[in-house]
Amino acid sequence: MSSSYLLAGVSPLGLGPADILLRDGVIAAIGTPGDLDAADAERIDGAGLVALPGLVDLHTHLREPGREDAETVASGTAAAATGGFTAVHAMANTDPVADTAGVVEQVYRLGEAAGYCQVRPVGAVTRGLAGEHLAELGAMADSSAAVRVFSDDGHCVADSLLMRRALEYVKAFDGVIAQHAQDPQLTVAAQMNEGVVSARLGLQGWPAVAEEAIIARDVLLTEHVGSRLHVCHVSTAGSVDIIRRAKSRGIDVTAEVTPHHLLLTDELVAGYDPVFKVNPPLRTEADVMALREGLADGTIDIVATDHAPHTGEDKDCEWAAAAFGMIGLPTALSVVTASMVETGLLDWAGVAERMSASPATIGRVTDQGRPVAEGEPGNIVLFDPAARSQVNPAHFPGVARNSPFRGMELPGRVVATFFRGTATLLDGELQW
């Protein structure tokens, strides 16, 4: 492993060729091609490659502790490096649940030991994700994991009073409640988006209103108590509309959309292949278009993967028995390129904002999502937007293969990822 890299002729944010010198963990210098004195540095030929700040995922399931058969902190962060990420937020629905300082510190330390990227544990809002009593949010915030994002993801904090209390309580340490917006009563036994396709297939519907009603309640609670709300995996056109109106009222709400909700629709469920089973479910084409528009105009602040690894046993079975969730870290940037960049909705600066700067801001991650500029941390991804290839999950790190994009041809290739100045990925290969 070299400690210095010269990224030669790369295009920072797609704005033109430059040389970037990474040394001692930081961006030591940026200059016009050929101008930098970097004889000792390993030279990376970056012609045609876009340089972006290392990507930050606000929504990752790493499964450790408890389901190491599906993913570990090491394998999940390796998948992150493969996708160009230098930070991930590890969701709390592990076993045991990340609802104490002890568990979040364990996950944090496992991330540091693996070294692929920064792991920011998310703390559970309620003890055991049971939705009944607040977890020790302050202890997790004060721990070495310095938790700022709290979520019962996988479950909705459905109780209005408990949600109010959580929103109020985290104000003391600049935390944010990341809500999985799903009215539980409206979605009992739900299997897929409720609409024309669910009617045809006879699968129990998950109606858009079950998401939208919770978001509407939560933005009003957030306004009332003057706190900060983040909405996980927004999936419907109606949700985009509610968030747009909340922002125009000045409510401190941010929102994310997953790559799969930017590209895939519920028509894919027709073959009953559980690789397309996810929560919230794949919606309609009209929803996909509204989500893209919302991401483009800033109503939706960020892309977050909801990377949800599962074993074959939990996924390769009949639809109703299969687990919800799909993996997304390795393909996120390609899917955003296909859905947002090649459609003209976002430029590379817009991608950098939505996949790096804004998620870092929401998660209060100080050393991530920084500009590509001298003196900034050496967190960089090099991406070849001209490449195209067929997605083959067999090439992903870890054991989970539940990618809904498998077999699809997607644009772009993550060529190299640098985390704190060290290459975690070079020429598409993990470095350890």
Binding site: G195, S198, A199, R200, L201, G205, G271, E318, A320
Partner: protein
């Protein structure tokens, strides 16, 4: 469904009824039974009016019949309380009516579906008695049917709930015949798809 499209096998896969999705052989035997009885057993189903009544939301029979009867030219009307009509059914080639009394005078065949007691517990309707009063086919309501129309039910019946005892056992009910026809139709399906030659199989029948 997954097996049929997995590419693992080149044999035919026959759907014998899957969950709340489809039940194609039931629809075939229903269509066959209607053909035997209506238009003196001579014509096809085009233009015939069929009402399917009951728990459409959870019914694989209703789905398969809606597609098949429409394909065969019949006009299908679904009748149920709105809670038991799927959101999205507006895309089906059928009419929807919440008023059974409004529909019955204008049908050639009415197909009653079983309504399970669990649906009441989940508040799809307030009580079995209220369901029966509004959607049950009792003797008084059966008198609304045109003279030569027939009554079908895929079974098992919940007598006293969606269908009255005297109606289930009446002359215009073809329910037992549906059962008998089921044997013939399913034999035919097995013969054609499993025993018989298929296009492109390289075997001339």
């Amino acid at each position: 469904m997954r097996l049929a499209s997995a590419g693992w096998i080149d044999g035919a896969v026959i759907n014998a009824g899957d969950g709340t999705h489809e039940h194609p052989t039931q629809a075939l035997l229903d269509a066959y039974t209607m053909r035997r009885h209506l238009r003196g057993g001579q014509g096809d189903l085009s233009g015939l009016r069929v009402a399917i009544v009951g728990d459409i939301l959870h019914s694989r029979v209703a789905r398969s019949n809606a597609w098949l009867l429409h394909t065969l030219g019949a006009e299908v009307t679904l009748v149920a309380p709105p809670t038991l009509i799927p959101v999205g059914a507006e895309a089906w080639p059928v009419k929807v009516n919440y008023d059974l009394d409004d529909v019955l005078p204008h049908v050639d065949a009415v197909m009653m579906l079983r309504v399970q007691a669990e649906r009441m517990k989940a508040d799809f309707f307030p009580s079995t008695r209220e369901y029966s009063r509004r959607y049950g086919l009792d003797a008084a309501r059966a008198r609304l049917l045109p003279e030569k129309s027939i009554i079908l039910h895929p079974g098992p019946m919940v007598r006293g709930m969606e269908i009255g005892d005297d109606i289930a056992d009446s002359d215009r009910a073809v329910i037992l015949e549906q059962v008998s026809n089921g044997v013939s139709v399913r034999m035919a399906v097995l013969y054609l798809l499993v025993g018989g030659a298929r296009e492109g199989s390289g075997v001339v029948a």
